[in-house]
Amino acid sequence: MIDEVKTKIRHTIEKQDCDAVISTGVDNVTYLSGCVLPFADNYPDRKAVLVLTKEGKALVICPFDWAQAIRDQGWEENIEIYDENAGMPPQAIVKSLAAVLSSLGVARGKVGLDTSWASKLLMDRLAVSLPGVEWVSCDQMLRDMRIVKTRAEVELLEAAAKQSDKGIIGALNHLEGTVEIPGYTIAEFSERVRVHIVEFGGSGIGHLATLQGLDTRQYYVPQRGTFRQGNLVRIDVTNHNLGYWSNAGRMAVIGQPTVRQAKAYKDNLVLKAAAQKVLKPGLHCDQVFHKVEKTAEETGIRFWHEVGIGHGVGVSHQEAPYLHRWDTTLLEPGMVLVLDICTYGPLGELIHSKDTYEIVEGGSKLISWYKKWDRLYAVTGFRAAH
């Protein structure tokens, strides 16, 4: 686990008006333990729970097969394996958690829990098993801790962002010259993005979608079909680097872009540049949003304002703060945000070129470019294989 994060967590917990803090959210567990759980989001009935006491004791409760993975990632504190044979979900983990809290002497104390993650049923069962505990939400505390990154976290996020960018470029490079029949399938291209990210050191892939033509008007479609000349292509991918995520999206065109396609891409960059100018400490997230809104009005560039223009990134693919009209969070050095401004192509395609920025003194630093994305990537070539 990153030492700076460990220290930050310890100091924050010490200041809390709680005897212990418990996290059940996958991202929170990763943040507080420094360990990535094996595809935990996809096992909704299985849980890992992290317990931190005010006195500095720490413990992870998890299923049998996850324990070794947690230990292998350097977790030196206790691990309590809960017996999945001891009751149907969530009863088995409740039983284990109740025993742990009793042994730590906080079964009659005030305990913080990430209630934006913990299920209603889990809370009900905990209330029955631990009637002496006063439960309070600790989501705000966790959010505030996570929102400003340490230097080491920024480095992990920068590496993750570049892994995504290299992965996309690597796959696009291979696509060149293969767009004629038989060509790549969309699924194979997506897989190549994944493989290239792994080759550049990525630890795992999350969302992965390649869309072309009219499909790009959607957020996701199943990966089917082959590339076709003239289509705009959007590649969206998230990948993590030792638990810290990138959230990338890039555009390409099969063949040389039409004038309208090239202009649509440039329009997107105009709004992004406007946002980037005000992405700096002392401004609020909603002000960045309004700046883009104003620029869009002035230039006549349409953007999809309803979805916002970006968000934080860290141990989750997307997290606070949100570059939206409703988020008044003050930008501070150390925050890492993804600018994600969606504009429209000639056929209503959703165009974005997501970039990751670190907020630094006086402004922001672009940390996601492996190559310059100031022009639309044209996938051309004439060879039958590449």
Binding site: V36, P63, F64, K120, M123, D124, H305
Partner: protein
């Protein structure tokens, strides 16, 4: 997923339930009732896709505006209502759900909700908006529906299991005893062979894993690069565990197979035979009317009788469907009675001679009289034995 007979089944179940309406929030439950493949839900934990299904009426799918067209095109649910992201997502989603509920149900209505999925905060917010309504837990009700598959779901699960097995075999056919392919490479080959069979391998959960020799002693080697694998070449004489999870139209396979690098040693053979004997025991008990916990107990007892160390902490199997790991669980605490139409992954786990984790997962259908193995591409009563080639 739209033609799997799930829609009619859920509709009928709601009509005969005690609920005036059902609200579903868990990504797995949402994919089931919406009959839609939505793998991105797991990458967006701060966004909400909710299905509200009132008794006697058509359901409505409530989602962020950016997912609206996707949900419309992938789900059979015609009424898709997006919430503006111009306010915090939880508040936006709750407001819209509450609006639909208020406009559809009486103020004293009973609402079923998947309480083992919905977050406490979301529930509290919704409860605040619908103060007079009675919220009830409907997790068991939903699980009952999901556990027993329709004929079309069974067919799809058979297909995905078969193609995954084929994908694994296709990849390992390339493997030779000589050091020609690393664990990492083989893991990728398996994915590619699954893609060739038109399976979906996108999404965080579509994991391939290859672990040989000492690496096979761990469930999740090379943390946190699970499923990416090492540069290590499987060596002659080693046991190799290969795993793959893939999906087809939103339904999953959960596969694991053992390879022997060259002719297995006597101890390796004995270990595999021991695994097969536990598997046979389970199969003898897998029939309607038997409780899951009884299947587990039978396997455990057989292991004890033979002196086999069963890694029973994970049970000996589980259901599979819109997720790779779901109810019923073949473990000590699940008293669910097996019923014809359930599809399970049978997965007793033991140790090999060098403490490797040995498993060979079979997808099985509970039939009227017993069970049927689905999707075998080869006869797995023997491990795959790699040839000595060059």
């Amino acid at each position: 997923m739209k033609e799997l007979g799930v829609i009619e089944k859920v509709q009928r179940a709601i009509e005969s339930s005690v609920y005036d309406g059902v609200i579903v929030v868990g990504p797995d439950n949402v994919q089931y009732v919406a009959s839609a493949t939505l793998p991105f839900l797991y990458s967006n934990p701060d966004q909400y896709l909710v299905v509200f299904w009132p008794k006697g009426r058509q359901p409505v799918c409530i989602c962020p505006v950016k997912w609206e067209t996707t949900v419309r095109s992938l789900s059979w649910i015609r009424k898709v209502q997006s919430y503006s992201e111009a306010m915090p997502p939880m508040k936006a989603a709750v407001d819209m759900v509450a609006h639909h509920v208020r406009n559809t149900l009486e103020t004293s209505a009973q609402i079923g909700m998947d309480m083992n999925r919905v977050s406490y905060d979301f529930f509290k917010e919704l409860r605040g908006c619908l103060a007079n309504m009675q919220f009830m837990e409907c997790d068991d009700w939903l699980n009952e529906l999901r556990m027993i598959k329709t004929p079309q779901e069974r067919e799809l699960l058979t297909e995905v299991a078969f193609r995954t097995d084929h994908g694994i075999l296709g990849a390992v056919h390339h493997l030779s005893v000589r050091n020609t392919q690393s664990e990492k490479r083989l893991a990728e080959e398996i994915r590619v062979h699954c893609l060739e069979r038109l399976l979906d391998t996108v999404g965080h959960h579509a994991v391939s894993l290859v672990a040989s020799g000492a690496h096979a002693q761990e469930f999740w080697p090379l943390a946190p690069k699970f499923g990416i694998g090492w540069d290590k070449m499987p060596q002659s004489g080693e046991l190799v565990r290969v795993e793959m999870r893939a999906s087809l139209n939103g339904y999953w396979s959960d596969a694991a197979r053992m390879l022997a690098m060259g002719e297995p040693s006597l101890e390796q053979r004995q270990a595999y035979e021991a695994l097969m004997s536990l598997r046979e025991t389970a199969i003898r008990h897998l029939r309607p009317g038997v409780k899951c916990s009884e299947v587990f107990a039978a396997v455990k007892q057989e292991a004890e009788r033979q002196g086999i160390v069963l890694i029973g902490d994970l049970g000996v199997g589980h259901g599979v469907g819109v997720t790779t790991y779901e109810r019923p669980y073949l473990n000590e605490s699940d008293d669910t009675e097996l019923t014809a139409g359930m599809v399970l992954v049978l997965d007793p786990i033991i140790y090999g001679p060098d403490r490797e984790i040995i498993r060979s997962k079979d997808t099985v259908l509970i039939t009227e009289t017993g069970c049927e193995i689905l999707g075998w591409y080869k006869d797995w009563r023997e491990p795959y034995i790699t040839a000595y080639t060059f």
